[in-house]
């Protein structure tokens, strides 16, 4: 046997690099529009009016971002989004954890029936209920209020479904040990099981926050007063009067500013998000 002949390496089997190369090329196409937006956001509006090809040339400026600081409107929208997204996240976590615990661990009359009905809720798209909801909130006088913006998505069955799964995944012996330790159902929930669902809470929380932050349909019809706009709707409204707006550069800067919170959340919690999305596929 010749000594210089290298041994067969199984990993060479999968070493076809073509797909990865194509994916890398696609990633450039993926990023190009964002790069373009970033470029516009650091150009002076007057210069852009003469031609956007000036993006490829100096000078660059942060004046658009500084202008956001002077625009109380954008900050107001930002604050609204923060209140709505935080409130909704908190509400979903509380409701889903309580319900998930009961569905996973407690016995009460009609438990199975109720759970199945709630699961049916997963299949109801937003547009099947949005008109009736709008009417209801109209009568209740809840439009253009934080409560009106937060409430509807608390009904989402997804959180309940996920928390039920998470509670079911905890070994039953843990609660049995707690029962033998004289703990009440409430104490078992609060001191024993809830701490064990913290990773799940984080996942569900991140998802709810992102969804609330990005929600479009409902705030569009519920928040009609400019000062109650969420950031998503605010940016949309600036977009609609596009031509006569404050200018492409300023609009781009606003978009970058509006995306920062979700992108930061995404970067910090990327692993959580990936796990959560992947978890859905196993079912």
């Amino acid at each position: 046997m010749s000594a210089d002949r290298s041994t067969y390496r199984p990993e060479n089997m999968t070493a076809n690099r073509t797909p990865l190369t194509i994916a890398a090329v696609l990633s450039v196409a993926m990023m190009a529009p964002v790069a373009w937006l970033l470029g516009l956001s650091i150009k002076d509006n007057m210069e852009l009016k003469l031609g956007t090809d000036s993006v490829f040339e100096l000078p660059y400026t942060l004046v658009n971002y500084l202008n956001i600081l002077h625009s109380s409107q954008v900050f107001g929208w930002f604050f609204n989004s923060l209140v709505v997204a935080t409130g909704q996240t908190f509400g979903v976590l509380v409701l889903s954890s309580l319900a998930g615990y009961a569905f996973a661990r407690l016995e009460f009359p009609f438990r199975r029936t109720i759970f199945v009905i709630v699961l049916f809720g997963l299949a109801v798209p937003e547009q099947a209920v949005i008109i009736a909801r709008h009417q209801m909130f109209n009568w209740a006088g809840l439009h253009n209020s934080y409560v009106g913006l937060i409430l509807p998505d608390l009904s989402s069955a997804l959180g309940v479904f996920l928390m039920t799964q998470f509670f079911k995944a905890i070994p039953r012996e843990i609660d049995e040990a707690a029962l033998l330790d004289n703990a009440s159902p409430l104490r078992i929930f609060w001191k024993v099981l809830l701490p064990l669902t913290l990773p799940a809470q984080a996942t569900l929380g991140i998802f709810t926050f992102l969804r609330a932050w990005n929600d479009y349909w409902w705030p569009l019809i519920s928040a009609t007063k400019k000062e109650m706009f969420t950031l998503t709707i605010g940016i949309a409204s600036s977009q609609i009067n596009f031509a006569q707006t404050e200018g492409l550069g300023f609009l781009s800067a606003q978009a970058v500013f509006a995306s920062l919170p979700v992108l930061i959340v995404y970067l910090i919690f990327q692993r959580h998000i990936v796990t959560a999305v992947s978890g859905g596929a196993v079912k």
Partner: protein, 365 residues
């Protein structure tokens, strides 16, 4: 402060399925009782009913003088060690042990005293600040026992607590459990499918099979005078040899039994007069069969597999009619597979079983 446990006519059903049928069992205060049975025999269910984790379909359970089957688990005064240990993953060892005591509102100083004492007993004092994930299997096991000890329960319930340990650790922990029982003098009920654990730990063994108690007795009673063919076959390794009985004649003193492979065997057994031969069988343990020195006439056995265990040798073979038989021979036995050996039975150690499995033993046993 240990208590007796009285289980009276307890039945457990899940819908149509009966898991335990009319079980009665008296456990004395301070007794170590092992419930032994094959998997799925309902032994864990019985333990969980005592703990209050399963409800009782029919019958009653008392701990001490108090009827407990109507009480929630925490108020029964029993502590349980789970097979998986079921430690609270987010609490430290100290918190795991004190959680139950906090729940009943014990003063802080008392909780601390008990936790420290139990930790010292179990030699886990240096682990008190750790979380379960940072412990080895054996350490987790000790914490689970410690969590039970601090409650100073009337009885300890163990649900196969050694099955998750490796063989060496299992042997050591078994010994420590026996010592713990001696020291605490508490009532302990221990569920297992491992007969070595049962034989070594138990004051009394309860054999559970097919929804019922097959036999209750000391380890020696169970081994030497099994109440049924099931017990005889289940306890002991290698398993008892069985032979179908063809015919039997009695002269008042001796019972002469005819079986296929063994031929005619005389035994000092006095079965009741209504004993029916049809379906009856004869049983004898491997160690009650001896290999005769070469040249002595006996029952011929063709050795198929010879297992040398060092202190003894197991010979698996078949008789002239093909019936299988296992013999325990001396560790220095020179028998090899393929050999023809001559064997003899210790007729005083013969067991006779009727068609229903009920056992009759020789006077010598």
């Amino acid at each position: 402060m240990s208590a007796s446990i009285e289980i009276t006519d307890v039945t457990k059903r899940y819908g149509e399925l009966t898991v335990l049928d009319d079980i009665s069992l008296s456990i004395r205060a301070g007794e170590f009782v092992v419930i032994l049975g094959p998997s799925g025999c309902g032994k864990s269910t019985l333990l969980r009913m005592i703990a209050g984790l399963e409800d009782v379909t029919k019958g009653s359970i008392s701990v001490g003088e108090r009827r407990v089957d109507t009480l929630p688990p925490g108020q029964r005064g029993v502590a349980m060690v789970f097979q998986s240990y079921a430690l609270y993953p987010h609490m430290t060892v100290a918190q795991n042990m004190s959680f139950g005591l906090e729940n009943i509102g014990l003063p802080k100083a008392e909780i601390q005293r008990r936790v420290l004492q139990a930790a010292a007993t179990l030699e886990i004092a240096h682990l008190l600040g750790r979380k379960p994930a940072k412990l080895s299997g054996g350490q987790r096991q000790r914490v689970a026992i410690g969590r039970a000890i601090v409650k100073e329960p009337k009885a300890f319930l163990f649900d196969e607590p050694l099955s998750n340990l490796d063989a060496a650790l299992r042997g050591r922990t078994r010994l420590e459990l026996a010592q713990l029982h001696t020291r605490l003098g508490s009532t302990m009920i221990f569920v297992t499918h491992d007969q070595v654990e049962a034989m070594t730990l138990a004051d009394r063994i309860v054999i559970l099979h097919n929804r019922r108690i097959e036999q209750i007795g000391t380890p020696m009673e169970i081994y030497q005078r099994p109440a049924s063919r099931f017990v005889a076959g289940f306890v002991g390794s290698p398993a008892m040899n069985f032979f179908p009985v063809e015919s039997a004649t009695s002269n008042g003193e001796m019972l002469t039994i005819q079986t296929g492979g063994l031929g005619s065997v005389g035994a000092v057994i006095r079965p009741p007069s209504r004993f029916s031969l049809s379906g009856a069988s004869l049983g004898i343990r491997a160690e009650d069969v001896t290999v005769l020195p070469a040249g002595q006439p006996g029952i011929p056995l063709k050795a198929e597999v010879v297992e040398r265990l060092g202190d003894r040798t197991l010979i698996y073979g078949h008789l002239t009619d093909g019936t299988k038989l296992t013999v325990e021979a001396d560790g220095r036995s020179e028998a090899r597979s393929g050999d023809m050996v001559q064997i003899a039975l210790d007729t005083s150690a013969i067991h006779l079983f009727d068609a229903a499995g009920a056992a009759h033993h020789g006077e010598g046993g």
